[in-house]
């Protein structure tokens, strides 16, 4: 069912309750950490079956219920007019609503998440998008956006920018055989300059740190629709590990749409703790924060594989971490000439 129909159904339900003098209620799946579990079979996070009830008969909830209705109706209008608004735009629009302004954007964002989780929709389905664009992609992919055909090798040095509305983009042609997603834009530009996309028949994706929804959605689509394996190349520290893991298994916070975002088959290639050792990379000492985070990851079910457990353990033993740009020690083209071919199994 389409988002618009779902919202209309919701409106009808509420009207039905009002006519029967029955307080309208909304069952909203709980997104607290206690209601999120790691689905071993699908290898990503899913919501449990706990939910909270928002009731129009509760003095404490009736305002929030009215705000939810306002957000829903705002989205209905966006969908009907085929428009997009950012979450921030909606937050400002609410100033004029009868329910009054929100205390902060966190409050309005939370209601959007409520609707997403309740109706199993992505915010993009509701006509809403996050402020930030997705990251960039460079490689032999041709796509069609808003009627315009774009070749991702001819979109300038920075590549094709993944829009928040990536679901509306059509993939026309793809020569690439794999995707290499990198954490930093520094590495992205290095790989583009060294023509790694040509050398490895790859789409190079710059994640810009923690991957935005649009980027993750892009990775998910190229993996599923174009059958490309996805390789993740991040910094050799707990935060780099986790940037990769969110792409692979999804985040706890967005558990209700992880089935549309997670790429369980994506593979983390480095920088691993073993790389630090094997390539004798320049390092920084682990800070206390890094150590605490590593210990957290050790207990995280997503990291419960022999590979991750041994890498985390080794990093703790070394007491060191390394950035992906540390390979520059051996020359700017070292990653493309030596490191990546080895990791991707493409060497000689």
């Amino acid at each position: 069912m389409k988002a618009g129909e779902k919202l209309q159904g919701f409106g009808k339900e509420v009207i039905g309750d009002i006519l029967k003098a029955r307080p309208p209620r909304l069952k909203i799946p709980s997104r607290s950490t206690s209601n999120i579990r790691y689905d071993e079979k699908n290898r990503y996070f899913v919501l449990g079956d706990k939910y909270g009830v928002r009731s129009a008969a509760s003095m404490k909830q009736v305002k929030k219920f009215a705000q939810t209705m306002c957000v829903a109706d705002f989205c209905r209008e966006l969908i009907a007019n085929d428009k997009f608004a950012t979450l921030r735009e909606m937050y400002y629009t609410a100033e004029g609503w009868e329910t009054g302004p929100f205390r902060d954007q966190g409050e309005s964002d939370a209601i959007v998440e409520d609707l997403e989780a309740t109706f199993m929709l992505k915010r993009e389905d509701l006509g809403l998008m996050p402020e930030e664009d997705g990251a960039a992609v460079y490689g032999e992919l041709t796509l069609k956006e808003e009627g315009v055909t774009i070749d991702a090798t001819k979109a300038g040095r920075a590549g094709y920018t993944i829009p928040p509305t990536i679901d509306d983009v059509e993939f026309l042609k793809c020569k690439a055989e794999r995707v290499i997603a990198v954490e930093t834009m520094g590495m992205y530009h290095r790989l583009v300059q060294e023509e790694a996309w040509k050398k490895f028949d790859a789409l190079i994706v710059g994640l810009k740190g923690q991957a935005a929804r649009a980027t993750r959605r892009f990775l998910k689509r190229v993996h599923e629709e174009l059958n490309l394996p996805v390789y993740l190349f991040c910094d050799g520290d707990p935060f780099g590990f986790h940037i990769a893991m969110v792409v692979i298994s999804g985040s706890a916070k967005l558990a209700h749409i992880n089935h549309e975002l997670a790429v369980p088959d994506a593979e983390f290639i480095g920088v691993t703790a073993s790389d630090i050792k094997n390539y004798d990379l320049p390092t920084d000492k682990l800070r206390e924060l890094d150590i605490a985070r590593l210990k957290q990851l050790q207990r995280d079910p997503r990291y419960n594989t022999p590979f991750w457990q041994s890498e985390i353990k080794l990093m703790l033993e070394l007491g060191k971490k390394a950035e992906q740009q540390a390979f520059a020690k051996y020359g700017l083209d070292y990653v493309v000439k030596e490191y990546l071919p080895e990791k991707l199994g493409l060497k000689g």
């Binding site: 009808k12 009207i15 307080p23 509760s58 003095m59 209705m69």
Partner: protein
């Protein structure tokens, strides 16, 4: 040659009661400048109200306190009533002789009792200012008696100076006392508060008060019926001692001890007398004058082994729930009032008493140290015994202890801040005072327990009221919130569904009144 003993006893002589009290004025409440003044007002007003009630007249009392000269501690107190007056020949006794009176042997509830009060006031006036006390009285028969009374301390006798008679159409008694070493203050311990309390506990009394600065206050009456007079009650056998029994024997007109027991004690029947005779082994046919101390002790111990009906309480006259509430309402104009008059109980085996309690919340209720206009500063406990205010010595009083023993938070109030007045009246022919000053009730276990229960009775009612009040306010807030948001929900839902906006009145009605759903499901 005199013996040593003769030498030592050369100075031995009899003291009069008046002289004893002259030396022990503090025992009568004449201690401190403010307290002494309040005590004088108390003695005068108590007598005045008692006199009017005896005569079945609605009391109309005027109290005036005036400066005599430049000395602020030199004051004249004038107390006037509208009772039936005092016969001329009794004036020296009433105002000049201690332990004279009609009340002590009646075993009846009254404000005054021992025949000490007003004489003490006369004596205090005389001791501090050297002036006699002026009494003006008339039975309303056209003749008005004026007399200045001085006390002959050695002889425990009143003496009239400047007695004269006037013609005039007036009824009542007016007493003028000139005092030194007193101070007027409008504090908790001063005459103003005393009279205010008196008015609360005596809603049938109208009190006019004129302060030294000329300010006039009328404490208007809240009811127009004179309380029924208490009736004398015979003592209950469990309440008498061997000494009491001998005293009764000396006074009785009965010819045998058996007759004495029946006529002078309550709940005594022929059968009970036979039982007393059997258990004590005393010959009850002997003359009362032949009763020995040993006999009396045996009889008293026999009493303890016999089951009697509870003492009669017909003589007790509580103020009554309705009049307490009227009095509190009249004086404090509170938002909530509740009072209770408990059933009669007995202490020390045979002395009946009744406890009454009243509570007032909001309005003028609560402790107001800074005057009537300031915000209340917590619980104001006002204590009474037989309707007479107890102003001093609150610390050790059973009423104070009982009020303190209660966990007020359980009743939804913080007694440090709540605008709350708590009224307690203990009614008995023998109120167990801690001293002759009669300002504090002794901590008798039965009395304490009964006071505590009375307070809890009224506190429970207050809790109910406060709870209802909170609920009502919550309901209002609820209604407001739903009236604001339900129409928005309806309009937006209609917009989503693409239909007309439905009528929300039935839902609003249902939701705005009912229990909060969130809370119902909550912990």
């Amino acid at each position: 040659m005199k013996t040593l003993a003769e030498e030592l006893f050369k100075e031995f002589r009899e003291y009069s009661v008046s002289e004893f009290f002259r030396k022990n004025a503090a025992m009568l409440g004449y201690t401190g400048k403010i307290r002494s003044l309040t005590t004088v007002v108390h003695e005068g007003v108590t007598n005045a109200i008692d006199a009017a009630e005896e005569a079945g007249i609605l009391p109309e009392i005027t109290v005036a306190i005036r400066r005599v000269d430049e000395d602020p501690e030199h004051l004249k107190v004038v107390i006037e009533d509208n009772a039936s007056g005092i016969p001329e020949e009794f004036i020296p006794h009433v105002f000049g002789k201690m332990l004279a009176g009609t009340k002590l042997h009646r075993n009846m509830q009254s404000r005054g009792q021992q025949g000490i009060g007003i004489v003490g006031a006369t004596l205090f006036a005389q001791m501090t200012s050297g002036k006699p006390t002026r009494v003006v009285t008339s039975a309303g028969d056209g003749e008005i008696v004026c007399a200045d009374v001085m006390i002959d301390v050695d002889k425990n006798e009143g003496r009239i100076m400047n007695g004269k008679k006037l013609k005039g159409d007036w009824r009542g008694t007016k007493v003028e006392l000139e005092l030194k070493e007193v101070r007027y203050e409008r504090s908790r311990y001063g005459p103003y508060n005393y009279l205010r309390m008196t008015a609360i506990a005596n809603p049938h009394t109208r009190i006019t008060f004129i302060e030294p600065d000329g300010k006039l206050t009328v404490f208007e009456r809240a009811t127009d019926s004179v309380p029924e007079r208490p009736r004398p009650m015979l003592p209950h056998p469990w309440g008498v001692t061997a000494d009491d029994l001998l005293a009764l024997a000396a006074r009785t007109k009965s010819r045998t001890v058996a007759g004495l027991l029946i006529s002078e004690l309550s709940r005594m029947t022929k059968r009970k007398v036979e039982e007393v005779g059997r258990l004590s082994g005393v010959n009850l046919k002997k003359k009362p004058s032949e009763l020995t101390w040993e006999d009396a002790e045996k009889i008293v111990s026999a009493f303890k082994q016999i089951k009697f009906m509870a003492p009669p309480t017909s003589g007790l006259r509580p103020i009554g729930k309705e009049d307490i509430e009227k009095g509190l309402r009249q004086m404090l104009n509170p938002e909530f009032v509740y009072a209770v008059t408990r059933q009669p109980k007995v202490y020390r085996g045979g002395i009946p008493f009744i406890v009454e309690a009243g509570i007032a919340y909001g309005g003028g209720a609560g402790r107001k140290e800074g005057g009537e206009e300031v915000e209340a500063e917590g619980l104001d406990l006002i204590r009474f015994a037989n309707r007479a205010p107890l102003v001093f010595d609150q610390g050790g009083c059973a009423i104070t202890l009982a009020a303190k023993s209660i966990d007020w938070r359980r009743y939804g109030v913080d007694i440090a801040t709540a605008p709350l007045t708590l009224f307690v009246n203990v009614v008995s022919a023998y109120v167990p005072y801690t001293s002759a000053g009669k300002q504090s009730i002794a901590d008798e276990p039965e009395v304490f327990k009964e006071i505590r229960e009375a307070i809890m009775d009224v506190a429970r009612e207050l809790r109910r009221y406060l709870y209802r009040k909170i609920r009502a306010r919550e309901r209002q807030q609820r209604a407001k919130i739903f009236e604001k948001y339900l129409p928005i929900i309806a309009r937006k839902a209609a917009s989503l569904a693409g239909v007309q906006v439905p009528d929300i009145e039935p839902l609003l009605k249902k939701v705005a009144g009912v229990e909060d759903e969130g809370r119902k499901n909550g912990p």
